[in-house]
């Protein structure tokens, strides 16, 4: 089951379900997300990046069909689901006095017994992912005392500790400093390449995306496009991102020129 994680979307639409109908944010979209790839979700504010991640992780309803390894999310048990996917969202109100070790350990929840006892292997994996994310010196610190960037790395370590073949990250690089932005994305990339995991992350950092991502899910103008990362450099796609934003026309032009000159 876990050997070939692939996400398949058929006539997939994100949006919000009301009592009677579905208010869609995008037009129908079909695609197959191959395994072992780093896939970036790119879009402007309010385009639906977070909604897409929530839909893909079956937290909210969507239109169309979604398959993980050929099975719908609903057909997985809660335990199987947690063994298949892990997810880091943007907002966590962590309770006071929760230390970093405990936060990372929460990723192991599904692998522990009903009492939540951490085994040798659990502890090893927690230490390993803490080390990978460079937060192993913070283990005894309280999560709420960390900086936003450190918090983000701890949350990613939590997802790494869960060791699911498919991972979703909502803006993992948002609060990170310049070196860590690149380092974290490179880490995700290496997990995809070496451990055959599939990682979907949303980001505003086009620089990072174009350097590491294999594929890009571009949400623009109520459409989802699955494109090759190289294609994102194309003027047409950048134009898609800039077009339709409520910023002055002259500024759009300036931005467009800035991007094409850079390439």
């Amino acid at each position: 089951m876990i050997s070939s994680p692939v996400i398949e979307l058929v006539d997939f639409q994100i949006g919000y379900r009301s009592k009677t109908d579905f208010c869609s944010l995008t037009s129908p979209f079909s695609a197959k997300l191959p395994k072992g790839k780093l896939i970036a979700i790119v879009g402007t504010n309010g385009a639906g990046k977070t909604t897409l991640i929530k839909s893909l992780t079956a937290q909210i309803s969507y239109n169309g069909s979604l398959y993980f390894n050929g099975k719908t999310p609903k057909s997985y048990s809660v335990e199987q689901w947690a063994e298949l996917i892990s997810l880091v969202q943007t907002h966590y109100q962590v309770q006071a006095f929760t230390n970093v070790f405990d936060v990372i350990a929460k990723g192991r929840t599904v692998h522990t017994n009903w009492l939540g006892h951490l085994s040798e292997k659990d502890n090893e994996l927690i230490m390993l992912s803490a080390k990978k994310l460079g937060v192993d010196h913070l283990l005894e610190r309280y999560f709420n005392q960390l900086s936003d960037g450190e918090k983000q790395r701890v949350l990613v370590a939590m997802a790494f500790a869960q060791s699911s073949p498919i991972m979703f990250f909502d803006e993992p690089t948002a609060y990170l400093d310049y070196p860590h932005k690149f380092y974290l994305t490179a880490l995700m990339k290496s997990l995809c390449e070496n451990e055959d995991r599939t990682i979907v992350f949303s980001s505003h950092d086009l620089e990072v995306v174009t350097k590491y991502a294999d594929l890009v899910l571009l949400i623009a103008q109520k459409q989802i496009h699955l494109i090759d990362t190289k294609a994102l450099m194309d003027a047409s796609y950048i134009n898609l991102l800039i077009e339709g934003q409520d910023i002055p026309e002259e500024f759009k032009k300036e931005l467009y020129e800035h991007w094409t000159k850079k390439q």
């Binding site: 809660v78 929840t109 709420n144």
Partner: protein
Amino acid sequence: MYRWPFISVVLIIAILLVLAFVLNLSIGEVWLNPFQLFFSENLQSAILISEFRLPRAIAAVLVGSALSLSGLMMQTLFRNPIAGPYVLGISSGSVLGVSLVILGGSIFSAEFLSSNSAIIIAALVGGLAMMFILLMVLKIIKDIMTLLIVGMMFGAFATSVSSILQYFSPGFQVKAFVLWTFGSLSKVDYPQIYWMISFIVLALFFVVLSLKGLNLLTLGTSQLEQFGIKTKRLHFIILLATALLTSSVTAFCGPIGFIGVIVPHISKKILKTSNHWRLMPVSMMIGAFIMLVSEMLTHLPGSGMVLPINSVTAFIGIPFILWILFKPLKNEI
């Protein structure tokens, strides 16, 4: 920041708890020497201890630990520092039950209903009925915070019904009802203690079942499925456990305020952790300790007068709650 080792914290609190327990047996209308409590030749004081003070002290331990545990779970579930065991209106259900029996009984001239056991049964039925209503509500709502609002509304409803009943009741019945709401540990006898213990043991089974989920809730996300925990099932178990704890204690001793709110904070401050495997036993012990101390303070020295226990817990509790509100744990470290 220095943190006391867990074992030493438990040991210190355990010693304090034993001291408070023994002292509680000594204090009362008649002072008994704590060093001679169990070796007394005097038959009178032996009866005084075994028939009155021991059940009272045991009740204090049970009430304190049950309410603190219930409050701890409510605070974690609702991520709210001033949540407590009564926040969902379980006690209002009990109050409604008791007011129907005491006050309704007088209106319909069925005074036999005001016996002590009738009151206990009414409170228990009221509290558990409230629990079933909340469990039904839990099935249909999406956001757990809705439960908080529904619970508060039902609580207000129960209070209004009982005030209507009070309005039409004769004075002595109203007094009996008001005295019940003050809370009391001194009416508890051994059969009642066995009942309380059975309820609490049953609840503890659910508490242990929910600990893994409670620890996950400290992450502050309401989506637990991705971690392999069924959110609704967890909420169901937590609600069941807290309602059993709260309604059983309220039925036998009346609604006792503040303990359930302040004790979880004290244990978090002392232990400096959010691990519920540690918070649970320590909260129970501190709750029992504070309840024993509060009970001792209800006895005015030199006279046989006993203050209502609720006024003492509020006397300790209100300054503490104000302190929590104005000094919020150093930005919720």
